[in-house]
């Protein structure tokens, strides 16, 4: 996943550096606020740790057969917190690029973006979602493994997108477009490396939980704070939904390009000099499902003034948030049953190191 020099155009790596500069500044503020001076040696050593665990061979599929290497960014995000992981993994990547030639110097920003931001945050988010507040070891393992798998694949996808947009931006750099870069990267990470990351993240968490649970971060914020923040963010987004009505009205644009229904399509095709007819399969398929609120509007109100439509948009947004929240709560109840033994399979042979 380390992008070397020469694969990314300056139009990509300069914005990546700019984005990372902001990330690093924000991350050091967040880390500094929570633990202050003490955090300096712990971060430096966390970075060295993240460098060294990338070198461990992890067996996959057959004993003594295929091995892979884990990035470990999700593990570090869970153990040290996501903002500390941004800094620790970035430091490891910078050291690799500057003194070991692993990953390009101009690509440091892009590599940090994918492996030190996208990967730890995606993985940590999934882990927090599945682990809940006081997870059993089994749940810890499952949440960690899912986090590792999702995090690595999110990072790989981000890398593939950065590489794949090169032919669109500038000539002379990575020549393979999204159609090639995304399937190749996604394929090997979904099928192989994702599982390496999952095994490492899950089993190391199990080991730490069993041997020294005090090393796991204690939640300092009240459990309600994140929910409140999420609710505020969602509320703001819901209030912004009418933008989709006002902006097209402002620039006199029609509906979303390419999202035409069977009734609009013939007219659109005729505009481009094509035979004006509705494809037969579109007509058949669109008859299967009738949306309860077509075009996010109540029946008979499609020609209402914009402000009325806006209110209906906001109502639709709230309805969707409510429905999805209920679904998520249901899933949480389903998964949060206590498990009787609490020990993961295969972690018993862990006492053989010095």
């Amino acid at each position: 996943m380390h992008i070397p020099d020469g694969y990314l155009s300056p139009q990509t790596y300069v914005p990546a550096f700019a984005a990372m500069a902001g990330m690093w500044a924000w991350a050091s503020k967040r880390v500094g606020d929570s633990l202050r001076l003490r955090q300096v040696p712990l971060l430096a050593l966390g970075a060295a740790f993240s460098f060294v665990i990338m070198m461990f061979n992890v067996p996959m599929f057959l004993p003594g057969g295929t091995t892979g290497h884990a990035v470990g960014a999700v593990l570090i995000a869970i153990l040290l917190g996501p903002w500390a992981a941004v800094i620790a993994v970035s430091l490891a990547l910078i050291l690799q690029a500057l003194t070991f030639g692993d990953g390009g110097i101009t690509a440091i920003g892009a590599n940090c973006l994918t492996m030190a931001v996208v990967m730890p945050f995606a993985g940590w988010g999934v882990y927090r979602l599945l682990a809940g507040r006081a997870p059993s070891i089994r749940r810890q393992v499952i949440a960690g493994a899912a986090g590792g798998y999702v995090g690595l694949n999110a990072g790989a996808l981000a890398t593939a997108v950065l590489l794949g947009i090169q032919p669109l931006i500038a000539h002379g750099y990575n020549p393979f477009g999204l159609k090639v870069a995304v399937p190749v990267m996604a394929g090997e990470h979904l099928l192989l490396f994702g599982f390496v990351e999952a095994v490492v993240t899950g089993l190391v968490l199990a080991y730490v939980t069993r041997t020294d649970p005090s090393l796991l971060p204690q939640s300092t914020t009240s459990p309600r704070a994140p929910v409140l923040r999420l609710a505020l963010a969602l509320g703001a987004l819901v209030l912004l939904t009418p933008l989709g009505l006002y902006v097209p009205a402002l620039v006199k644009a029609g509906g979303a390009w390419g999202e035409w229904g069977p009734k609009e399509l013939p007219a659109k095709l005729a505009e481009h000099g094509l035979p004006a007819r509705t494809p037969i399969h579109l007509a058949q398929l669109s008859a299967i499902w009738k949306a309860p609120l077509p075009d996010y509007a109540l029946p008979g109100l499609k020609t209402a003034p914009l402000w009325q439509l806006s209110l209906i948009y906001v109502a639709c947004g709230l309805l969707a948030v409510l429905a999805l929240s209920l679904l998520a709560l249901g899933l949480q109840k389903l998964f949060s049953r206590k498990d009787p033994d609490g020990f993961p399979p295969g972690v018993d042979a862990t006492a053989s190191h010095s």
């Binding site: 593990l75 500057l98 199990a206 190191h353």
Partner: protein, 294 residues
């Protein structure tokens, strides 16, 4: 100098014979790569200590100059300019007495790897152009195009030049001085300090990881089941994490006992002289000249 044992003297070579690694023994394979890393970290000092053009420069000038050249190389688009940039790398390497063996990785491995990746780009399906040679592969008619070959040549040359410049920076500068040189790029002090500290303790952590693997190898006669092996690797990482936390706390207490209050002082060697200005002027002239003129 006489009081030092032979292996501590600067000219001592660090030969770490790798143990024969049977493909099936993954602990031994990891141990070998850890040993190689340690040898590389310690061995690099030998080149950085030689009297050469780049070694004499202030690290700040070197960081700005060489990273500037890497950026210039990513901006070049003509074959001639990229070739000249590569030539410049070779001149710098010779003037800095970097042994060719040390740069083989940059001159062979990295370009070869890129050449393999870029190979499909010489075909008409990726780079359309005048066909030089056509052939059939199953149902497809493929052609190697002139534009494709030119593209691949430029791409490989650019990667090779960038990797060589990065490697020149790495082997002619001790990491501690290299990181201090990053100050010239506006990197905040706290990050320099974190980098310095990470680099200093990396060898300790690598050594700890080696011990974990040695302990395992010395106590096992055959690999276990896949599950056991995976659990063991995870336990090794977990144990390593516990050690880093312990060490981090100890380092913190040591820092406090020496009066650390959060203020960071870095030693900058005031060595900036006409040589640094001359180097930067030459690099700027070369970089700007190549980008603008060719």
């Amino acid at each position: 100098m006489d009081s030092l044992p032979a292996w501590m003297r600067p000219q001592a070579t660090l030969d770490m014979p790798a143990l024969p690694a049977p493909r099936r023994n993954l602990a031994r394979r990891t141990l070998n790569s850890l040993a190689r890393l340690l040898a590389e970290m310690l061995g690099d000092d030998a080149v950085a200590a030689r009297p050469g053009l780049l070694q004499r420069l202030d690290p700040r000038a070197k960081v700005v100059g060489l990273i500037g050249l890497v950026v210039a190389a990513t901006l070049l688009h003509s074959l001639a300019a990229l070739g000249l940039m590569y030539l410049l790398c070779i001149v710098l390497a010779v003037a800095s007495r970097v042994p060719a063996r040390r740069l083989l990785g940059a001159w062979l491995a990295a370009p070869l790897f890129s050449a393999v990746i870029i190979l499909p780009a010489i075909l008409n399906v990726v780079t359309p152009g005048h066909p030089l040679w056509t052939f059939r592969l199953g149902p497809w008619h493929l052609a190697v195009t002139g534009a494709g070959l030119l593209f691949a040549a430029k791409f490989v040359l650019r990667v090779a030049a960038c990797v060589s410049l990065a490697l020149l920076l790495a082997v002619t500068t001790r990491p501690a001085r290299l990181f201090r040189g990053l100050r010239a790029l506006g990197v905040p002090k706290i990050f320099i300090m974190l980098l310095l500290m990470m680099e200093r303790y990396l060898a300790v952590i690598v050594r700890a990881a080696e011990e974990i693997h040695e302990a395992r190898i010395s106590r096992s006669i055959a690999p276990g089941s896949l599950r056991q092996e995976q659990a063991w690797v995870a336990a090794g990482m977990g144990a390593l994490f516990r050690r880093t936390q312990k060490l981090g706390n100890a380092v913190y207490l040591a820092m406090i006992s020496r009066g650390y209050t959060g203020d960071i002082y870095l030693l900058d060697e005031p060595r900036w002289s006409w040589r640094e200005w001359a180097f930067l002027a030459a690099v700027a002239a070369a970089g700007v000249g190549l980008v603008v003129l060719l």
